[in-house]
């Protein structure tokens, strides 16, 4: 008899599902038949280190931190792409070269923008 090579994966998925589901089901049965739920206004309140929560959680954040995001993209994420590009440079077709130039152009635009905003000045 030659079992299906995917049978192993089926067994794996079944065990992976049963492993968390059985304790959860046992906990549910226990709660249902033994432990009475005791909800309350305080108990169900939002947890904020014991302090009463004030206001809504849906607040708007200031967008002034976008400049940090731009600089991070230019000086960190761009390098991750540039290093493999530089290593494989001689073997690249023209299409890939143009694609990376477009990518560079988009980020250089951001650099010019950030420079113009004075982000590259040392704060004194």
């Amino acid at each position: 008899m030659n079992p299906n090579p995917y049978l192993f994966i089926v067994i794996f998925i079944a065990v992976a599902l049963a492993f968390p589901l059985i304790p959860l089901a046992l906990a549910w049965v226990w709660r249902r038949f033994f432990q009475p739920p005791k909800p309350g206004a305080e108990k169900n309140a939002i947890y904020e280190c014991g302090v009463e929560s004030i206001g809504e959680a849906h607040i708007q954040f200031r967008s002034q931190y976008y400049l940090y995001a731009i600089i991070f993209l230019i000086f960190d994420v761009e390098t991750v792409f540039l290093v493999p590009f530089a290593v494989a440079f001689t073997g690249l077709p023209v299409g890939a070269f143009i694609a990376i130039l477009i990518f560079l152009f988009l980020l250089v635009e951001g650099l010019v923008w950030a420079w113009g905003k004075g982000c590259l000045q040392w704060a004194r």
Partner: protein, 208 residues
């Protein structure tokens, strides 16, 4: 022989034959007492001793209590470690209320028991047991980690003896027993109410 109990002689006889017999209550309490997750918060110098208890030298993990939870939703045990100021008391009661049943409280150190050396202070609560029920008290200023471990073992003993059924079953299994207590608020001069009458009655003074 009461419910949930096994004849000891029969049990040892069976154990000799390689059969392990237990009851639902023992299994339940065994699981609970060996995985008490404390709430991660400290109030004063007792908290330093509590941290030492959790660290490698004293290692509360040997008793299953190393998982300090930063949320009351996941905690079983509140270790009131330090001086409870009147500013902090409402927060502590609220945190206790937000813990899920079953929940236990260790009152650690002289301050949490009675106010300790700061008892005469205008802003010090004279014992956290005025507002929430305390299971184990540890004296000391501050108590050494060994004392906290002892309190932990006492609590384990207490959990082990809790009943699943019957009239004297554990409080968290009784739907009538409250799970949360009134949170004190700041009044004109003091916290109001000054104590929770359900858990605390001031001792009667008798002049002789």
């Amino acid at each position: 022989m009461g419910e949930g109990q096994i004849d000891e002689a029969l049990r040892t006889e069976l154990q000799r034959q390689g059969v392990w017999v237990t009851s639902m209550q023992e299994l339940y309490n065994w699981g609970r007492k060996n995985s008490i997750w404390p709430l991660q918060f400290g109030l004063a110098c007792c908290a330093i001793e509590m941290i030492a208890t959790a660290a490698s030298r004293y290692d509360i993990a040997r008793f299953g209590g190393e998982i300090f939870r930063p949320s009351p939703r996941q905690a079983d045990l509140m270790i009131v470690a330090g001086t409870v100021t009147k500013k902090m008391a409402p927060q502590i009661v609220r945190l206790y209320n937000q813990m899920a049943d079953p929940k236990y409280v260790i009152s650690m150190g002289a301050c949490a028991i009675s106010g300790g050396p700061f008892k005469q202070g205008y802003n010090v609560l004279k014992g956290i047991d005025r507002y929430i029920p305390v299971d184990v008290y540890i004296p000391g200023c501050p108590p050494r980690p060994e004392a906290l471990l002892h309190a932990f073992m006492e609590l384990q003993r207490k959990i082990d003896e809790q009943k699943l059924t019957g009239a004297d079953k554990a409080a968290h299994l009784d739907p009538e027993e409250p799970s949360e207590f009134p949170v004190p608020a700041f009044g004109k001069h003091d916290l109001e109410p000054p104590a929770n009458p359900d858990v605390f009655q001031p001792p009667e003074l008798k002049r002789v």
